[in-house]
């Protein structure tokens, strides 16, 4: 699959953003770990569909009309069984914001191992091209504003310095009895995202903004638990 095929498909469908599943496929294409997942439809029998996945599950609404899934109650975590998933899906469908949206379906994922929640993101600066960001706090990133930016492409030393720039960097080393998380896994994800042959440099013309939020980092690795890619308005000629 060509790296930009997912983007061409989204553009062909008239979408200005990649849906979560496509976003994660794009990340996986560049070697960034994403949870195993499957897209299911409302009222579809789930037992066989979820047979290959290991609980606990995460259930997320998938809709081009819903940008902020948590805000409309469109995310549930720690679902222990297929029945829990079915119940959670019914509850979501009963919510007006979800009930009236165009639905691609629901994404069922394996829940990532617990860890620190980080954000890796991107914006396209009109003068400097793609910028990469790393920050602490997952969904709280806009409150904490503890972030570091660099101009792409970054080198390994830049990735390490980005983490050193974070005020809350001590969280990565483990505080209050928590285990230290793998800085190496964060650096690796940053380089796959924003390094010389990374996603952002390869697709610089297409990506206006991106969030990997949260990137859940444990001692064993880093998993992109959510991904959003906003495409540039102009299509490539």
């Amino acid at each position: 699959m060509a790296p930009d095929q997912l983007i061409r498909e989204a553009r062909a469908a008239g979408r200005g953003a990649l849906d979560e599943l496509s976003g994660k496929r794009l990340l996986a294409r560049f070697g960034i770990a994403v949870p195993r997942s499957t897209l299911v439809q409302p009222h579809e029998p789930l037992a066989r569909k979820l047979a290959g996945l290991r609980p606990p599950f995460v259930l997320k609404v998938a809709s081009p009309d819903i940008l902020h899934k948590s805000d409309v109650g469109g995310v549930r975590t720690r679902l222990g069984s297929v029945e829990d998933v079915e119940t959670a899906m019914r509850v979501m469908l009963a919510r007006p914001e979800i009930g009236r949206a165009r639905l691609d379906g629901f994404l069922v994922e394996e829940m990532a191992p617990a860890g620190q929640e980080l954000v890796i993101g991107a914006v396209r600066d009109p003068q400097f091209g793609p910028l990469v960001m790393v920050g602490l706090g997952g969904i709280l990133v806009e409150v904490l504003r503890d972030v570091a930016f660099r101009i792409c492409p970054i080198e390994r030393v830049d990735a390490l310095e980005m983490l050193e720039e974070l005020k809350g960097r001590a969280l990565l080393d483990g505080v209050r009895g928590q285990a230290a998380v793998s800085r190496e896994a964060i650096v690796d994800a940053l380089l796959k995202f924003a390094g010389p042959a990374g996603l952002l440099m390869t697709l610089a013309a297409d990506i206006a903004e991106a969030d990997i939020n949260p990137l859940i980092v444990s001692a064993g690795g880093a998993v992109a638990a959510d991904a959003r890619f906003i495409l540039t308005p102009e299509t490539k000629s």
Binding site: V123, Q127, F128, L131, F149, R150, E161, E165, A208
Partner: protein, 483 residues
């Protein structure tokens, strides 16, 4: 020819023009262009100057010509200060005989109604075969070519290369910088940068062997990518100090993501600085103070500046400076036992403090008419390894209050020690004045003396702190870049 040699060759006619055309000088009145001719004469420009005038036979005693194409020789540098509307056509008819045209005139891209005219200007210059600086700028200052737009610019060829997107600030940089001891390899105001811009001049200064440190005042950048690439490729070999205007404006980026909403206009400049090692400063004072440090001192990538020894009169001043230095990431740590013992052996009078910072009241410094400083500094160098030594003198406590030339002796003593331990520590002097004219006069004299010996002089501890922090950041990056 290497790219570097090619860049130097391309810009040589700008920095050392043999022939200059002046457009906009009046035969009867005093316009900006007439002032330019007068300043060029005062500055000792020895090449040919050709005024361009539609009708006059002579301007300011020089034979005038009807057009840029009608001068006896091709033009290296044209100074153009006429109504904006005339400029595009004039350049289009230059017939490949003008290398660089600096367009002083305003009324181009800086105003909405002038944007189309600016495009015409660029097209005209292309048709006429010349490169344009400006429009909407003030000129350039190049001691090596005896070209100047500032009054009373020093004729010394220095090591500080300046690029300024603001003409007025360009004047401030040269004039204020000069008083603090800066000497320039050039200062170019680039205005709207319709054709040549900050990146082109940066490339020149990076290649220029006379330029040791580069200072850039930027407002808007046209090709950030090229700036990033140029600075990255430099790998902090030549320090670049960047004063960026407009950093607090929020970015124009639409924010559909968390990242977008967190990406203010400022983030990219901080990123640029962290990745390329260029030094981002916030005020004109910091800019000049930092340039002075790099003009005078040789950065050491193998031993980045960290430990600072402070020595002078003024207890409160040392305490406040210690706090400031600490906030800037510098360390003023108390001496170890060997240094303390060596200093104690000097038996300084009560009231002196010999831990770091060393606080010696005027009474102490008067000993031996100021030569006590030599013993103190000797004791430090013999027993400690600071990366930098800051000597600060509150001059008002000396001038008119001490007998003999205590201040002069203190300075001489410090310089003698410095020459005995070459390269051991960066040595910086702070001459603090209360603003009284007698004190100011002595300060000027001392400043000149110290600068002549290559010692940077600062007004206050804050200024020296900024300079040292920048030096430290540069050295650390240079150290990082080597690995």
């Amino acid at each position: 020819m290497s790219n570097r040699a090619q860049v130097l060759e391309t810009f040589r006619p700008l920095f050392e023009p043999r022939t200059i055309a002046v457009v906009g000088a009046s035969a009867t009145a005093m316009s900006a262009a007439n002032v330019f001719i007068r300043r060029m004469r005062e500055f000792g420009y020895s090449g040919a100057m050709y005024p361009i005038h539609p009708s006059a036979a002579a301007v300011d005693g020089l034979p005038a010509y009807r057009s840029l194409a009608a001068t006896p020789e091709p033009i290296d540098y044209a100074y153009i200060s006429v109504a904006a509307g005339h400029v595009p056509q004039m350049l289009a008819r230059a017939g490949g005989r003008v290398r660089f045209a600096q367009v002083i005139s305003s009324g181009f891209g800086e105003v909405d109604e002038g944007k189309a005219l600016q495009d015409e200007l660029v097209a005209g210059a292309r048709a006429g075969g010349c490169r344009v600086l400006g429009p909407n700028c003030l000129g350039m200052y190049s001691p090596r070519g005896r070209v100047t737009f500032v009054e009373n610019g020093s004729s010394d060829l220095g090591a500080v290369g300046i690029i300024s997107q603001s003409g007025g600030l360009g004047t401030d940089i040269v004039r204020r910088g000069q008083v603090r001891g800066l000497r320039f390899s050039g200062a170019v105001t680039v205005g709207n940068s319709a054709d040549l811009g900050p990146n082109d001049l940066l490339e020149f200064y990076l290649a220029d062997p006379h330029t040791k440190v580069i200072g850039v005042y930027l407002e808007a950048v046209k090709d950030g990518r090229r700036l990033f690439d140029l600075l990255k490729a430099n790998r902090a070999q030549k320090p670049v100090v960047l004063l960026k205007g407009g950093r607090t404006r929020q970015g124009q980026l639409a924010a559909a993501s968390h990242t977008g909403s967190l990406a203010g206009d400022d983030r990219v400049w901080v990123a640029l600085s962290r990745q390329s090692g260029c030094l981002l400063v916030e005020t004109l004072d910091q800019f000049l103070d930092t340039l002075l440090a790099f003009q005078a001192l040789t950065p050491r990538a193998d031993r980045p500046t960290r430990e600072i020894v402070m020595f002078g009169n003024g207890g409160g001043t040392s305490v406040l400076a210690t706090d400031l230095f600490s906030r800037l990431g510098l360390e003023v740590t108390p001496f170890g036992a060997p240094t303390l013992q060596a200093l104690a052996a000097l038996k300084l009078p009560p009231g002196s403090s010999i831990t770091n910072p060393i606080d010696t009241p005027v009474g102490t410094l008067q000993q031996d008419e100021g030569r006590i400083a030599e013993k103190i500094l000797d004791a430090i160098y013999a027993t400690a390894e600071p990366e930098a030594l800051v000597m600060h003198l509150n001059m008002a406590a000396f001038v008119g209050r001490t007998k003999g030339d205590v201040l002069g002796n203190l300075m001489q003593a410090a310089l003698r020690v410095q020459s005995r331990y070459p390269g051991r520590a960066h040595f910086l002097l702070v001459l603090r004045s209360d603003g009284e004219s007698e004190v100011e006069a002595r300060k000027r004299e001392f400043r000149a003396g110290a600068l002549a010996l290559g010692i940077p002089v600062y007004d206050e501890m804050m200024n020296v702190g900024w300079a040292l922090a920048a030096l430290c950041a540069h050295e650390r990056f240079a150290c990082r870049a080597r690995t």
